[in-house]
């Protein structure tokens, strides 16, 4: 949704219409954010002494840095899984008849129509010690003792990938739909096989969708408090839960604020890398 550089008076109309939303954001997003920043710049919980102590604490504490690192890694893993699984679905969607398209879009959207909590509990049922996977494998005699699936990084990645999949698939479907089907035929008639066509034509031309999908999936995956906590359990700690513990359990508001700000900056950094890539690939868009 790039803002079109229109003539001056059109722009001013746009600004006027955006005012209510801008006010809303100012009151309920920017103001709390500034309060958060203000809080984080205090060295004591009472908020009396100014200083950068909270940030220093976080950045010199291996445990905190570990939590940040594993959260960013989790996002990367979930994004990778979503991309690898989502791309074929999106590709398929553009090549089947309208009936199958309806079925695919239904399957893709289904996770969005059920509550995150319900979906996450479903994963607990699937991954648990006596869950569907372990029970099946045991009854088939593949394994003797149940595999540990729940409360592992693997479990969290799989569950998050399923939960966030629509955020990847929908932009991909849109991007692939914009590619002229003649490009496939042209590439093929020039002697290229399917893989060359995919890597030289389809993938480069779908990059705007890939980047949009990755940005959305990544941002959603690293901030997914419920799924991370329920599937990860007590042993796996990610930034949202760490933040929650510091704020609610330990009542250390300045440190929690510093964590938020650092987390926010880390996410912004990753997202801006994606956006820069997106801007570079935008040249591919129009025909």
């Amino acid at each position: 949704m790039g803002a079109a550089p229109a003539s001056r008076d059109v722009t001013s109309y746009g600004m006027g219409l955006a005012a209510p939303l801008a006010l809303f954001f100012l009151l309920f997003f920017v103001a709390p954010l500034l309060q958060l920043l203000w809080l984080s710049l205090h060295n004591d919980t009472a908020g009396l002494h100014w200083g950068l102590g909270q940030y220093l604490h976080f950045l010199t504490d291996p445990f905190s840095l570990g939590v940040l690192g594993s959260t960013l890694l989790l996002g990367a893993e979930v994004t990778a899984v979503c991309l690898v699984l989502g791309f074929p679905i999106a590709w398929l969607y553009q090549r089947v008849g309208p009936k199958l398209q309806t079925i695919i879009i239904l399957i893709v959207l289904l996770p969005l129509l059920t509550s995150v909590v319900v979906r996450t509990f479903a994963w607990i049922v699937i991954l648990g010690r006596q869950g569907i996977i372990n029970a099946t494998l045991q009854s088939l005699g593949v394994i003797d003792t149940p595999l540990k699936l729940l409360y592992t990084q693997f479990g969290v990645v799989i569950a998050l990938a399923q939960v966030q999949m629509p955020l990847m698939t929908l932009p991909l479907i849109t991007a692939l739909g914009r590619i002229d089907p003649n490009f496939d035929d042209a590439s093929c008639s020039l002697g290229a096989g399917s893989w060359r066509t995919f890597f030289r034509i389809v993938l480069p031309l779908s990059l705007p969708g890939v980047i949009a999908g990755c940005t959305l999936t990544y941002a959603a995956a690293i901030t997914a408090f419920i799924t991370q906590s329920l599937i990860g359990g007590g042993q796996m700690l990610f930034m949202p839960m760490y933040l929650y513990q510091q704020a609610s359990t330990l009542q250390n508001w300045p440190f929690a604020s510093a964590i938020s700000i650092i987390f926010l900056l880390a996410v912004l950094a990753v997202v801006s890398v994606f956006t820069t890539l997106g801007r570079m690939s935008r040249g591919y868009g129009g025909a």
């Binding site: 003649n182 129009g286 025909a287």
Partner: protein, 364 residues
């Protein structure tokens, strides 16, 4: 390889294609194209010409029949192994690759090294008269330039057959003529057997050595432009190619070479029977082109009343209403003495010669 890559023959042998729904797309098409020929597949939209093109290219596997290029039956080959060059209607230039990369794309797919493919791309760009555009992107080029690039890209793989899908439809009229000349020049230079799919009869008649007219998936006629125009084998060809007057009538007497027909408009004329023997008393449709009708002074022709005269530059077209109420068009060369006919003038009309009136058995 024994034969040269250029100028290979193409045989479409009894090709039938049925859509999954069961509907026939093309039915029993037979075409025998000599190496180096330009063939036009002409027909209205939905006649199956694009389906036939996609079958030859290998994008569609026909239900029945064979495609033979040179000495090889290519039915089992996928499109990327057929060495058939295609220029798409919208050119389908890869928007993210430079002009040079577009032209070299097929060479890269063949594993030719970078330096050699750049040389070849440059040579082809010179051939299509765009030597300075190599580093640009497709969207920075005009429609005509994009089409030249699409041609260069298709020619780069040294195709045995070149397929052009409505190649000039997206160009404006002046540019279209330039590109038609350009394509014909390139085809002469390269000697590549070429198939042009088009719905534009002028394009087909002017570009092609032979024209295949298709309607509803069937081949109506396959012959030289003058065959198709002057000796149409079916009513469809007669009406689709060029303009014509359709005049209903009844056969008075007929043999194999001539039929005497009593037109509903009045008057008996001699016409050439087409498409099988005509039986006496049977209804026929007689087709006479506007330029093959003349005004006569005696009582031989049929009567009519002039409705409107349109001066179209070199010719004048008169709209004449006949006795049975149907309208016919008469085209007259505009020479010095041609006087404008007044609205409402009573005239008599007759075909220039019996061979220029075609009688087809009436289908309805």
């Amino acid at each position: 390889m024994a034969d040269a890559p250029n100028g290979r023959s193409l045989v479409v042998d009894a090709v039938t294609h049925r859509y999954p729904s069961g509907a026939l797309a093309v039915e029993n098409i037979n075409l025998d194209v000599k190496g180096g020929e330009i063939i036009a597949l002409l027909g209205p939209s939905g006649c199956g010409k694009t389906t036939l093109l996609r079958i030859i290219a290998g994008f569609i596997a026909q239900t029945q029949g064979r495609i033979i290029i040179g000495d090889d039956i290519v039915d089992a080959l996928p499109p990327n192994k057929r060495a058939v060059g295609i220029v798409f209607q919208n050119y389908a230039l890869f928007p993210h690759l430079s002009i040079s990369e577009n032209v070299a794309y097929g060479l890269a797919a063949r594993g030719i090294d970078k330096a050699a493919r750049q040389r070849e791309a440059q040579r082809l760009l010179e051939l299509v008269q765009l030597p300075t555009m190599a580093e640009r992107l497709p969207r920075q080029l005009s429609g005509g330039q994009q089409q030249r690039v699409a041609l260069a890209r298709a020619l780069a793989i040294k195709p045995s057959i070149l397929l052009l899908d409505e190649p000039f439809a997206a160009l404006d009229k002046n540019l279209r003529l330039d590109m038609q000349i350009e394509v014909k020049r390139l085809q002469r230079v390269s000697g590549i057997t070429t198939l042009i799919v088009t719905h534009d009869q002028e394009e087909a008649l002017s570009m092609a050595d032979r024209v295949a007219v298709l309607s509803h998936g069937k081949l109506e006629q396959f012959g030289s432009p003058s065959d198709v125009y002057d000796r149409p084998q079916t009513l469809f060809v007669n009406t689709f190619v060029g303009s014509t007057n359709r005049m209903p009538g009844v056969v008075v007497s007929a043999d194999r070479t001539a039929a005497k027909v009593r037109l509903d408009a009045g008057a008996e004329i001699i016409a050439r029977p087409v498409g099988g023997a005509l039986s006496e008393g049977g209804r026929v449709t007689v087709c006479i082109r506007p330029e093959h009708l003349q005004f006569v002074g005696d009582e031989t022709g049929f009567a009519g009343v002039v409705g409107m005269s349109l001066p179209l530059g070199a010719t004048v077209v008169h709209e004449v209403t006949t006795a049975d109420g149907s309208g016919v068009k008469v085209s007259q060369a505009r020479i010095g003495e041609t006087r404008a006919l007044e609205n409402g003038a009573a005239v008599r009309l007759a075909p220039l010669a019996p061979s220029l009136a075609n009688a087809f058995p009436a289908t309805l």
